[in-house]
């Protein structure tokens, strides 16, 4: 594996191998000394053109636990806003010795572009590109689902597990990467959201439901993944009001009572409490949100390790 740009870069075996490695990394995170010397002397650059403290911190911790040096470059408010391009910024950072560039960018395909031009030679990890993909998020979700659903998860796929993704399917990179990865791993993935936010090409797949109540009844999901609602979708008239969204697509007490007792609730965070998820659901025993955060570090350790060890070159 040279880069991680899309969940589609991973076939089933590779995905399982990464998840297993993440389980090993997770064990390290449970130790008193949460650190491995493996990537000593390597430099990981977090190049973030968009704010995302959570993702950035998670990558930072992952790199540090593997003893890599970490540089955080928040391009917002820096020279980039004065017109410095992705190319120049990336080249500058590589000239400083970056072995891996972890890229978050508002433009879809930017990670792919960085990896496939002659701009830089570093390994590239896509940490979210526009409304395209966020593959490490999908990996951490898959890891969480696998742990929650399978007693001895190592080596296993997600066959037979039904996942319902709820929210903005048009613009969500989390939804896109999950759709790809969870399907690769054998899960049965359904999606649910306002028709304005469900691309026609998805609808034709037959696993799209417009109303959450219908979806819960029809799918009887093992996992419900709630996507974060972006405020600007409302101002662009994709749906009328927050109230209406919460009423039809929000996960609330009454819906919580209707999903299975062991159904996992996932959310990529940060949550809009009271909008896509209410407090009762967010704080219920079904909520896997903190497991997701924990697994995020482990998954990113596994990804960095895989990119920087022998197989990459």
């Amino acid at each position: 594996m040279r880069h991680l740009l899309s969940a589609a870069d991973l076939d089933k075996d590779q995905a399982i191998k990464l998840l297993d490695l993440a389980e090993d990394m997770s064990d390290v995170n449970d130790r008193e000394i949460k650190k491995l010397p493996t990537l000593r002397g390597k430099t990981v650059v977090n190049l973030f053109f968009e704010d995302s403290t959570r993702t950035r911190i998670s990558f930072e911790l992952a790199a540090k636990r593997l003893s890599a040096d970490v540089i955080n470059f928040a391009a917002k408010g820096s020279s980039v806003s004065k017109g410095e391009s992705l190319k120049d910024t990336a080249q500058t950072l590589e000239a400083m010795g970056a072995d891996v560039i972890v890229l978050r960018h508002s433009s879809s395909g930017s990670a792919h572009r960085l990896a496939h031009t002659d701009w830089v030679g570093s390994a590239i990890v896509n940490a979210g590109d526009g409304s395209h993909e966020h593959p490490t998020q999908a990996l951490l979700d898959a890891m969480t689902i696998r742990q929650g659903a399978i007693k001895h998860p190592r080596g296993k796929d997600l066959t037979g597990i039904k996942v319902l993704i709820v929210g903005d399917l048009s613009h969500s990179r989390v939804a896109r990467s999950n759709l790809i990865l969870l399907t690769t791993l054998g899960a049965e993935v359904h999606v649910c959201g306002p028709a304005t936010l469900a691309p026609a090409s998805l609808v034709s797949s037959g696993r799209v439901h417009f109303l959450l109540d219908d979806a819960i009844k029809l799918v009887n999901p093992d996992v419900v993944m709630m996507l974060r609602v972006q405020q600007e979708r409302m101002s662009d008239s994709f749906f009328p009001t927050e109230r209406e969204y919460a009423r039809i697509w929000g996960l609330n007490k009454s819906r919580l009572a209707r999903i299975g007792e062991n159904t996992q609730i996932l959310h990529p965070g940060p949550m809009n409490r009271g909008l896509e998820i209410d407090a009762a659901s967010a704080d219920s025993k079904n909520s896997m949100v903190l497991n997701q955060v924990r697994n995020g570090v482990a998954v990113r350790m596994a990804v960095l390790l895989t990119l920087l060890s022998g197989e990459a070159s």
Binding site: S85, L86, K87, H105, S106, S107, S108, G109, S110, H112, R113, H116, T117, D129, G130, S131, H132, E133, S170, R173, R176, P199, A200, S201, L202, D236
Partner: protein, 431 residues
């Protein structure tokens, strides 16, 4: 230079092989006795009316790092063009007599191709207030085509007024059909691929809705409409029906929309980012059919040079547009001739005479009629070649790079003089 040429054994559009004689810049039926001619062996070459491009972005004034009238003229001559239409989206915008006259003069100075300016429909292309269309029409630049290309004249009342107003001087409004509200953040053709790539979708209806509306307005006003860069099967059908109803509409298609499809966006290389976007294979088929059956009148390049930095970036930040002057003929040959579906007469019409008629260029598109100015293009249909990013244009955003092309322009004769000869550009026509 005598300006007297005898083009020996050239194939004309009907397929007949004969000699073509040029004397003092004009086509003559027979070589005059007592006149000396430079005799050129043209066996294997096809002579066509000098190409006329209705849609060229020359970028000057204002964006001379992308292209100048002179560099664009060189690229045009190398592509077989004897006339090009300079789009109005320069800086300052070509919305006054002064700017269009300046562009026309720069064209004369370059001396390789006739440069006919297009005037903006609205002041500053802003879509708010009509520009002084009459002044531009009556200026030395003699503007007949008006376009806000790059922007759509989306206000229906303003579009109606523009159509009515240009009737007074036999003008035509060339519409860039793009409903702006339906294309907010649009980056590529809407569909499964755009969803997969996470790029904002550009629905076909954004083009078709404007065309449908404009056709009705044209019918209402009894005016003349030209539709720029038609890109969808639905647009072709709308225009086909309108023509059948007798609405005075003409339409153009670009070489890239005749050849390339949306899947090229998969690698996120912005060299394939263009407005309107590359569409599906079904759209390409419909466009080809429309071109062959007469629904679409013209192949126009929409040659849109951009400096490297505008394309050497991520997709969303990159500029829309592709160069195309030097590859247009090869695409036309592929679609019309090599496909076996049409012929060189049609090719001459869509590459030259139809455009000349739309713009009212008396000296262009006349082909071999005796006494007319010799504006001719000689092509070698058998020459296969590989386009390179570097052309005579100043810009390298060439989406045809890496494709095998069949058929190539060998010579271009502008006003009786060679502007491009044996694959080499002249300083000026005749020098």
């Amino acid at each position: 230079m005598t300006g007297n040429y005898l083009l020996q054994g050239v194939t004309i559009t009907t397929g007949e092989v004969r000699d073509v004689v040029i004397e003092s810049g004009l086509i003559v039926d027979k070589a005059s006795t007592g006149t000396s001619h430079e005799v050129m062996d043209c066996s294997g070459l096809v002579v066509l009316p000098g190409f006329v491009d209705l849609h060229t972005h020359l970028r000057e004034p204002g964006f001379e790092q992308s292209e100048t009238v002179a560099s664009g003229s060189r690229s045009a001559a190398a592509g077989g063009y004897t006339a090009i239409h300079a789009m109005a989206n320069t800086f300052p915008v070509a919305d006054t007599a002064g700017v269009v006259e300046q562009v026309a003069r720069l064209g004369e100075d370059a001396g390789l191709v006739f440069v006919q300016p297009i005037g903006a429909v609205t002041v500053g292309l802003k879509g708010e207030q009509l520009a002084e269309l009459g002044a531009m029409a009556q200026s030395k630049a003699r503007v007949r085509i008006f376009s806000d290309d790059g922007n759509c004249v989306h206000d229906p009342a303003l579009m109606r007024r523009a159509l009515e107003y240009v009737k007074a001087f036999d003008g035509v409004v060339a519409q860039h059909a793009q409903e702006p509200r339906l294309t907010v953040n649009a980056q590529m053709n809407e569909g499964a691929l755009a969803t997969k790539l996470g790029l904002g979708g550009w629905p076909k209806v954004a083009e078709e809705a404007i065309i449908a509306r404009d056709l009705m307005l044209t019918e209402l006003t009894g005016s003349r409409l030209h539709v720029c860069h038609v890109s969808t099967a639905g647009s072709v059908e709308l225009i086909r029906q309108a023509k059948a109803r007798g609405i005075n509409v003409s339409a153009e298609v670009t070489p890239h929309h005749l050849l390339l499809t949306e899947d090229l966006a998969s690698g996120y290389d912005p060299v394939y980012k263009v407005n309107p976007p590359l569409r599906s294979t079904a759209d390409v088929e419909a466009l080809r059919e429309g071109l062959i059956d007469g629904t679409i009148d013209v192949i126009a390049t929409d040659h849109a040079p951009h400096p490297k930095e505008s394309k050497d970036t991520d997709w969303a930040s990159a500029a829309f547009g592709m160069v195309g002057l030097e590859t247009a003929y090869s695409v036309a040959q592929q679609v019309l001739i090599d496909s076996g579906k049409s012929n060189f007469e049609r090719l001459g019409a869509v590459m030259s005479s139809n455009a000349a008629a739309i713009s009212g260029l008396a000296q262009q598109g006349k082909y071999l009629s005796a006494g007319s100015a010799a504006n001719l293009t000689l092509v070698d249909p058998k020459d296969s070649w590989d386009p390179k990013p570097q052309t005579l244009s100043m810009s390298e955003n060439n989406p045809f790079t890496g494709l095998k092309m069949q058929g190539r322009v060998r010579h271009t004769i502008y006003n009786g003089q060679f502007s491009y000869r044996d694959l080499s550009i002249m300083q000026r026509a005749g020098s």
